[in-house]
Subunit: 343 residues, 4 copies
């Protein structure tokens, strides 16, 4: 039986709580939030779970094996570091921290203490994204031409982070998982339509190794919700529409052939093969359930999470470079390599 | 009765021919194409229309009042200039020419000869785009936040122009018409996935006066066709989906309020009003019919076309700057003002 | 504080439990199910709630004010009747009982004991259906021409009821609420594609007073999920697509004019006015929350639920007549009037 | 070279004209319409084609090999019969005639004179419907469970026929082609919302041999356009959405297994296998082009059209039975077998 304490019971915390409660061999041991009304809500739903406004109490509770953190980003590092130092396994909401240095320090701390450190990159635990990685990894797409994603909606403004850290982080985690390539540089354009507010709209262009370009549009200020990623390849192309209730992943057989013919100046030099479309059956398990079970399994087996601290680092390095690029009006900013693991 | 000769009977020419033939007080006087099989096709459909492989013959034909040009872009300038010099009114497919200088020269020639020069910016003659301009011009949207457009599909590669000159030109013409603002600068990223081929994918960011940013994604290599523009405003937002068979233009009442409250660090500083959506009835007349009738009307009345040579110039200036930006990996390139009209 | 016991913790029971737990002034006092694994699941989620396999224990528990019943239809009558006799208020899943006689007896029992009897016609508590009733009741649609509904999907077969009692019951409850008219007769066609199994597909035609015809297609064996209702009127028409994430209710201004002109035999005698479409903002509160609060409110105030025993009766009378019509291959079967309330 | 005269230049005639003009080895020899303005339109488009208001002149023109008839239904029989008697091959718009007797007489006349008689069942010449027939004929669907079609829109009222003869005729032709089974009986409900007008809405249930039930909803008075057919089978199911621009035909692997288990009364007796969806590439040739070429080919080779007089008869027999059923409020009316071919 693994006992988990939850810090943060705002928007995302209740989802973590529910999945922790329902996982076998797992117990939700405590819920912490600074707001009494949130704790009252937790108590109403889980009357037998202890609640507290003091995060320290959860971190130091010897009866707990692990801590799940679902608080504002600015608090992630301190809470996660203290929990690791107290010997806890840690699951922390995305993004893992405010800076890549913080992410490194957390990663090191977890490694040196042999604790599991996992970041809640929820989407990589969906049936859709796992199917896409499987397709990309198998080489079915042929040469990857591009990766294009749109994630927009009329969202809630947050004043502690901009739209990159709220929305783009999802796509960066998915790209990292699906492409399995190193991001080399990023150019970003950010728009803030309100004085003294963080950017509400951003466009990112990311150069991955192997000559793959990714582009990302995130927007808190759109009248409609769109969650669509297109991955173009020389043999197959994928359209991933996360809002499609039945066919989230569509695979198109539609390649391109070069056909040189210089005789006629009006003649196309490139021709197309367009074939069938296929929407594979997807695993419909709730992503957070898969993720929580994976976290518990890593604790039991000493395994490394698919979204470990290093994945968290890689995502933040892109965010930091994007942030710098935004300040410099779109200059392509190099992304440092993930810090090598020292012996 | 206005007699029009058509030069170019490839992909677009037949559409022009059909609309010229069916317009009242208009006669299709000649069809020219270098390819005998295209002329045979024209003859089969319009047995009484004279056909020729010699463009000069059409241009010099004194029985013709006007010439419509639907040939590859590289030939637009020479054909249009000769036609103007021969005293013809000219309707030329988009883009009007290969360079803004050529566009200027054509504009000057037309003005000095008092001929109508019109560029075939087809979309601005659709009911959808005209309704959008009406909404924007009326101020119904409030302050414009952004303009975002995606125009992708598995298209035909062209070897004489890249995807900007084929697809982006549509959006640039629509933006010019709808926003009625001057484009100040553009940053563009182009991707060519095939050696020695023009760019097949591009992302453009355009800064318009009045702090409006437009972003454009054009792609010849997508597995699905998307034609969607979102215009965000402080009072209303518009989604224009050109592929929606019934509701191409949707207007959302969804503004944003700033609500300062510094008491709680987790509190949102921005709140939303989301209201009804409305899809207005649109004029369903074929755009090319509206356009051809407008061309004929300008000839009769001496009027200035909505898509005159200067509109053509403005679009090309953005394309030229985008081209330069692509070569310099996305540097923001200033767009020269439209050349002033000399006394 | 109202204390409610829940009998049945299968598919729907957990939803009721969650909404009861979260309602103010309400307490989930007991959960009953015959299956130990379901009780274990309830205990895991609500460790402090008493569980039992004995429904009688819940019914007789003097600490409980009300009982919510979410068991197979065949058990509804006995459980609800015993609960009423034990002085409990009762909320019972749809359909209220197996026969209209049972529904009448329950209604009478509730009235004579001044208890609240409510049937869980969930859809009438959605923002969408309430908006539609408002539109219909206001006369905005003009004369109602027809009501057409399709409710199909690859569903679970049930062996104790056929597709009518599982799917059609939703539409009948919605029609009853929205139209506010008496159903006079019904013709039904049922198809069973598996030997010894209940009908998995059915088509119903219902004649309502005031010359309104409703048609309903329900199907457990469809590859796609469709939930669409169209209501045609002389002034406006409504399309209600319950699966549309953003615009569930669309209102079309599209009436019809008769225009007699006998001069030309090919001339249309009917012409159309087609206007704007509008998708009103809807209340997004979870229906079951609205419903549970309404149930609690009726208990407190002695009010009559919008989905009371008589609404349950009316729906069952149509189901019974439809059942009879199916046996007689579609004969139009009269629907008895709701039993008058005796002094 | 086959010379064809066209009688009727209203809604559909221009499409026939265009395809006749563009077919190789075919010449549009004459266009006839009673309305001078329609003839003017034809002349404007095809200045060299002879026009006339006298159908007799076309029928008797010895220079013509065939006649295409696109006039109101009530005139089909007389025009087609006279054309056949004049030795012409005949292509006639759907439905072939007003009665099955007329259709028989035409079929006999064509056979005895060895002329091609073809009815314009356009949809069976689409890539989508041909793919569906191929799938059904191959047995890929397994046992056919049902055929369900919805064809609704805000249409034009016609005063010479009701909605059955205008819209349902399309589905009946498709069913006849796709299922390849005999229709045994039909039950129909018709609704007329306007006094003295033909039915504008109808629901048909058709019993085909082999225990396949088809259901059809046609409606001239709907605010939205829907063209969707679902065919359920034991191994695969098809959704055919004619308005889907990219994936008109979707094939679902989703069968059903019977799994008897009487131990638990709540246990499902039927379980599902749900698998991938596939949208095959379709032939995008315009249906009318395929059809016209097939007509010309039958003339050249003496072949029998896929939509011959007997197919036309089968469709009309269902329409006649449906008409009778509507008069009798939905009574199931037997459909006579196609008349045997006499020696």
């Amino acid at each position: 039986m693994i006992r988990v304490g939850l810090i943060g019971y705002g928007y995302w915390g209740p989802n973590l709580a529910r999945n922790l409660v329902e996982a076998a061999d797992c117990q939700l041991g405590a819920v912490c939030d600074q707001r009494p009304e949130r704790l009252a809500m937790a108590s109403r739903r889980y009357p037998s779970v202890r609640t507290t406004r003091d995060a320290q109490e959860v971190i130091e509770d010897r009866a707990l094996d692990a801590v799940a953190i679902a608080t504002p980003v600015s608090t992630h590092f301190d809470l996660a570091m203290e929990a690791l130092k107290a010997g806890k396994h840690v699951l922390v909401e995305k993004p893992i921290a405010l800076t890549s240095l913080q992410a490194e320090l957390l990663t090191d701390e977890a490694r040196s203490r042999a604790r599991v450190l996992m970041v809640d990159h929820t989407f990589i635990y969906t049936g859709a994204v796992r199917k896409i990685r499987e397709l990309v990894a198998s080489g079915a797409l042929g040469r990857i031409y591009y990766y294009d994603s749109v994630r927009i909606n009329l969202g809630l403004f947050q004043h502690d982070v901009n739209v990159l850290w709220d929305l783009a982080v999802h796509d960066l985690a998915i790209m990292d998982f699906v492409l399995g390539r190193r991001a080399l540089g990023v150019s970003a354009l950010g728009i803030s339509n309100f004085a003294d507010q963080p950017e509400n709209t951003a466009y990112l262009t990311i150069a991955f190794e192997g000559d793959v370009t990714a582009h990302l549009h995130v927007n808190w200020l759109a009248p409609v919700k769109i969650r669509r990623t297109v991955i173009g390849g020389s043999s197959q192309m994928i359209v991933y529409d996360d809002l499609d209730p039945s066919d989230k992943v569509k695979i198109y057989d539609c390649g391109v052939d070069l056909a040189k013919d210089e005789a006629d100046v009006h003649k196309m030099l490139v021709s197309y093969r367009v074939g069938d479309m296929r929407a594979p059956r997807l695993d419909l398990t709730e992503a957070l359930q898969t993720e929580v079970l994976h976290f518990l399994d890593c604790i039991k087996t000493g395994g490394t999470p698919e979204s470990d601290g290093r994945a968290g680092q890689r995502v933040i390095r892109i965010l930091e470079a994007a942030q710098e690029s935004m300040r410099e009006r779109g200059r392509m900013v190099a992304i440092p390599a993930e810090r090598g693991v020292l012996a």
